[in-house]
């Protein structure tokens, strides 16, 4: 007992180390500044601010010291301090923004944000300014993430991303720390996050801290802007189909707010095709500072609705065509979240973060194709009756708390707890509806992590424990990482085990484009499990040009297969879930930075991934849907003048695997009233993913110009606003270079490759800022 007491006293003694902490904000806007270098002059000691502008400089020497604050976009500032053996909290420090000379769009931030950059081995961080400077990204976070070396796709029209050989359902997306289910619009495939509202984008692609769990492939953290402390500012982008904008403003002395929204309705579709459609998303963020506590309220809502029916086109075709032909689909989805976060600094050594939120997603999708094509020769009518109907929702109520202790020997202890109540509703229909299934489950997790810095060596050990139901045993998820700095080069390694307690329905072969994940919880089943092994090296060629080489191996120890046809037969998971396994490995090269007016990144990835399930090909491994061994990606921006940025994006990748049919047979449709038979050809596909489609090449360019004359400029002046921009995007510059999407067989001709990213196009945009 005495020993334990002594140990506790030593630990508490550590809490009295002379740490210096504080927050750094923009003098004018009051917004937290990420990535400010905070250094104690002539000591080599320092830190960088995180997402909230918070920093802790560890073990500052006693005496008179000078604290130097530096950031590329702000005027450097020095602060004289008298450091004693007591911890020092500096409160909120302000920095003044400075006008930058014409130079490249910044892509390397000297930043330490949600994750600790010096330790993190597998992340992709991008300043959201790239979204606004490169119009070919269509203001879409997912389009941007497709340029990450860790991401591959199985369908160019789908927003679903595969990260390092994982499945889309293994990606966690968080908005200000709240889990967002199905974070994409059905109608456009875009992410439901308005780029004007985003302050930071960060994706962890492996080797996560013990703090993160519940998804095995990636963690995408989207952080919204906080608001302006003294003035009203914003920007909006009007177009013929809708409006997109954001506004920031002060609420009172120590509170700010930001509101953003997009509402888009395709008028062509609505008028010419008589199909009601709407797509929208809204974010509200309120930040209040109370002493050493920051309180943040975030609300989010997104909605998609589309009702299409061939009947609406009756004006354009002879009416008799509809006698034997019906086709249509209705999709109705929404997403909502609301949460309160607190961030409280007790003394300078103890940081408490709490978060309570609700997040929900609901999807209702129906599609049908029915037709009868009379055959008077063979007397077997061609008949198809195609109907899919999916109802899926997930409701998530979560409370979590994290406590960080900055203790002796430059250690940072983190301990956290998380509790979620998840409610799932599922209903799958084919020609006949099945019964529905509603089930609730409690997900609990706790973690402990220690980070130690010993000279150039940083070590991180963590353990996470989680379980789905109160009746199930706790499962341990150990994690470890190290970083060794050797001059300007850093060697990194990470290892970790991960569990995921929900799975998703694969509707890829039933929906032409799989836009959504349909979630199922894994009650009474072992969770999805994987182990990551990562090794990397990174460094700088110059101050602004960094490189990284990362190799990974993922043992996908347990995966589940849940396909639409099976789910249609039964909603009992024990009947329809099939357990399998897989593996993924690869090596990624990334060169990123700035040189004079040029900035951006080039990456090359070599990777492979497989799956195996007992019922498919006797358990033999096959390539998973997004297996693209070679992937070359480039996103470059060139600042021609202060007012003009030209950009180009290029993707050159191996084709994805697909299943080639060897034969066909008629799938029969029986009419009980007539006691007659109809049929429709169905492909015979004995081997899954047995061919590889041709390589995919996509090259787009963009242009963004700050207007100084002309109608757009004068409109901005007339409205009393500050700035106006015009964007131009040219897509598919490799004119008629086909990227096949499907092959159709024509007699006397053979297979014809049908492409989607095919014809070049040009589009314009206009943005107003105030």
């Amino acid at each position: 007992m005495k020993r334990r007491l002594a140990l506790l006293l030593i630990l508490c003694g550590g809490l009295r180390a002379a740490n210096i902490s504080g927050y750094i904000v923009d003098e004018k806007t009051g917004e937290a500044i990420i990535g400010v270098n905070v250094l104690i002059a002539n000591t080599g000691l320092g830190a960088a601010t995180d997402l909230r502008g918070f920093f802790v400089v560890r073990q500052a020497p006693e005496g008179k010291q000078t604290l130097r604050l530096s950031h590329i976009s702000y005027t450097e500032r020095e602060i004289a301090l008298e450091v004693t053996d007591k911890a020092l909290f500096l409160g909120t420090l302000k920095m003044e923004a400075r006008a930058l000379p014409t130079e490249a769009v910044e892509v390397i931030g000297q930043r330490r944000t949600l994750i600790e950059k010096e330790m993190d081995i597998a992340s992709f961080q991008v300043d959201p300014i790239v979204l606004l400077e490169a119009p070919q990204l269509r203001d879409d976070v997912f389009q941007l993430l497709k340029f990450s070396p860790s991401v591959s796709i199985s369908d160019p029209l789908s927003p679903q991303l595969h990260v390092r050989g994982g499945d889309p359902g293994e990606n966690l997306v968080q908005l200000n720390g709240m889990t967002i289910y199905n974070p994409q619009h059905f109608f456009s495939g875009q992410a439901i996050f308005n780029p004007y509202s985003i302050k930071d984008i960060e994706m962890l692609v492996g080797g996560f801290d013990a703090e993160y769990g519940g998804r095995n492939s990636s963690i995408l953290n989207i952080t919204t802007r906080e608001g302006h402390q003294s003035e009203v500012h914003g920007e909006f982008w009007p177009s013929t189909s809708g409006i997109n904008g954001a506004i920031e403003f002060p609420v009172k002395k120590k509170a700010t707010a930001m509101l953003s929204g997009r509402i888009i309705s395709d008028l062509t579709y609505r008028v010419l095709m008589n199909s009601p459609n709407i797509m929208g998303d809204f974010v509200g963020s309120y930040l209040q500072k109370i002493g050493r506590t920051q309180l943040r309220l975030t609300t989010f809502y997104a909605r998609d609705y589309l009702d299409y029916s061939i009947d609406n086109l009756i004006l354009y075709f002879p009416s008799d065509i509809y006698e034997n032909f019906q086709e249509g689909f209705i999709t109705d989805t929404d997403n909502r979240a609301i949460g309160i976060q607190t961030h409280t600094l007790f003394r300078t050594n103890v940081l408490l973060e709490t978060h309570i939120y609700h997040s929900g997603s609901r999807a209702a999708n129906d599609s049908y194709v029915n037709f009868i094509f009379p055959d008077t020769v063979s007397n077997l009518d061609r008949v198809i009756k195609y109907r899919t109907s999916i109802r899926n929702s997930v409701q998530d109520y979560t409370a979590k708390a994290n406590l960080s202790l900055f203790t002796f020997w430059n250690q940072t202890w983190k301990v956290g707890w998380e509790q979620s109540r998840l409610t799932f509703y599922n209903k799958i229909g084919g020609q006949a509806d099945t019964s529905s299934r509603r089930i609730s489950a409690d997900l609990q997790a706790a973690y402990l992590q220690d980070k130690i810095e010993i000279g150039p060596l940083s070590l991180k050990f963590g353990i996470r424990s989680s379980r789905l139901m109160a009746t199930e045993t706790w499962r341990l998820e150990p994690r470890a990482a190290l970083a060794l700095r050797l001059g300007i080069t850093t060697l990194k390694a990470a290892w970790g085990r991960y569990y995921q307690y929900l799975t998703t329905l694969d509707s890829r072969n039933r929906e032409f484009i799989q836009f959504l994940d349909y979630y199922y919880n894994l009650e009474n089943h072992k969770p999805v499990e994987s182990t990551h092994y990562i090794l990397g090296v990174e460094g700088f060629f110059t101050d602004k040009l960094e490189y990284s080489v990362t190799a990974y191996y993922k043992d996908l120890t347990r995966l589940y297969r849940l396909e639409y046809d099976a789910a249609k037969q039964s909603l009992e998971l024990s009947d329809i879930l099939e357990a399998g396994r897989g593996e993924a490995y690869g090596i990624e090269w990334l060169l990123r930075g700035e040189h004079e007016r040029l900035s951006g990144w080039i990456s090359y990835t070599y990777s492979h991934g497989t799956r195996s399930y007992p019922s498919l090909q006797n358990g033999k491994p096959y390539f998973y849907e997004a297996d693209q061994p070679h992937n070359l990606k480039m996103l470059l921006m060139y600042k021609l003048t202060d007012a003009i940025t030209a950009s180009t994006t290029l993707q050159f990748s191996s084709g994805y695997p697909r299943t080639w049919e060897t034969g066909r047979y008629n799938q029969y449709f029986y009419d009980p009233l007539e006691n007659s038979v109809g049929g429709f050809p169905r492909d015979i596909t004995p081997v899954k993913n047995n061919v590889r489609f041709p390589s995919r090449i996509v090259w787009d360019v963009g242009w963004k110009k700050k207007l100084r004359d002309g109608f757009g400029y004068h409109l901005m002046e007339y409205l009393g606003l500050e700035e106006a921009y015009m964007t131009v995007t040219i897509r598919n510059l490799l004119f008629l270079r086909r990227n096949p999407y499907y092959y159709f067989y024509f007699p006397d001709f053979g297979y014809y490759a049908f492409g989607t990213e095919y014809f070049p196009s040009i589009s314009f945009g206009y943005t107003l800022r105030f």
Binding site: Q431, D433, R658, T662, Q667, L673, L736, Y742
Partner: protein, 264 residues
């Protein structure tokens, strides 16, 4: 005149890039780039059938329709005649019956179906199908005839715009189609089933359909239900598990029971 070498070089690069770009075009009248093969896979030939054992008071309503599967590039599905097999030997035998029934093909008489006018199925009985055809593997299959459901006649209620009744389903029927016939048309409801249960049925109809006349209920066995509720294939190059309830070929051999109730 002084030659501007950088401008000439830039001009040359741009022209070359445009030329290369054009050379890389896949013009629409060309088939386009072909996929590469990872695993060579052979087509496995076989018969493709729909056999229906139909329980009702009508002669020769049970039938077997026989085709064969074909290679993907064998012929045009839409314009060529179907690969109907007319010279197969089709035999059905019951588990409680030593008699085998030979089903025959009658050209231009039975919509390419094989029929036997003497075949009378019995509810609850299992039937075994064997088909042989020249050059193709033998096909075998089994099916059980579902028992008829029961309509609670005391529960039948008919009004000007609604018909309702209670239906007692059976455990051996996996799918039901319930039709309400009216003077000018019909309504249908389809539902899956896997147990004995009482199901409340309700049809609402408009005046344009006229007076309700009869209810007809089709009960499908497990084989017919799995095919009837299967999603069709309309997405190319996607992996599809073969829908089949037969051995040695493709297709379905199943049973359906028919119950007709005339409304009072």
């Amino acid at each position: 005149m002084q030659i501007n070498k950088p401008k000439i070089l830039m001009f040359f690069i741009i022209i070359s890039a445009i030329g290369l770009d054009w050379q890389s075009c896949d013009t629409p009248w060309q088939p386009g780039p072909a996929p590469s093969t990872i695993i060579e896979t052979e087509f496995v030939p076989g018969l493709n059938i729909l056999g229906v054992v139909r329980l009702e008071d009508t002669t020769a309503s049970s039938f077997v329709y026989v085709e064969r599967a074909y290679a993907a590039d064998e012929y045009d599905t839409w314009s060529d005649t179907l690969p109907i097999i007319k010279d197969a030997r089709v035999r059905i035998s019951g588990s409680g019956d030593t008699t085998s029934y030979i089903f025959r093909y009658y050209d231009n008489l039975s919509d390419h179906k094989y029929i036997n006018v003497d075949f009378r199925p019995v509810a609850g009985e299992s039937y075994h199908l064997t088909i042989t055809a020249p050059g193709l593997p033998e096909l075998t299959a089994s099916a059980s005839v579902p028992h008829l459901p029961e309509i609670d006649t005391n529960s039948v209620q008919v009004s000007a715009d609604e018909v309702s009744f209670r239906l007692r389903t059976t455990a051996d029927a996996y799918l039901y189609d319930v039709y309400l016939f009216c003077e000018n048309g019909q309504l249908v409801e389809r539902f899956t089933n896997n147990q004995i249960s009482i199901k409340e049925m309700k049809f609402k109809f408009g005046s344009s359909l006229g007076n309700p006349l009869a209810i007809q209920i089709f009960s499908y066995d497990e084989n017919m239900a799995s095919v009837a509720d299967a999603t069709s294939s309309i997405i190319p190059q996607s992996f599809l598990e073969t829908i089949s309830t037969v051995e040695g070929g493709y297709g379905c051999f199943g049973a359906v029971s028919v119950l007709t109730y005339i409304l009072p």
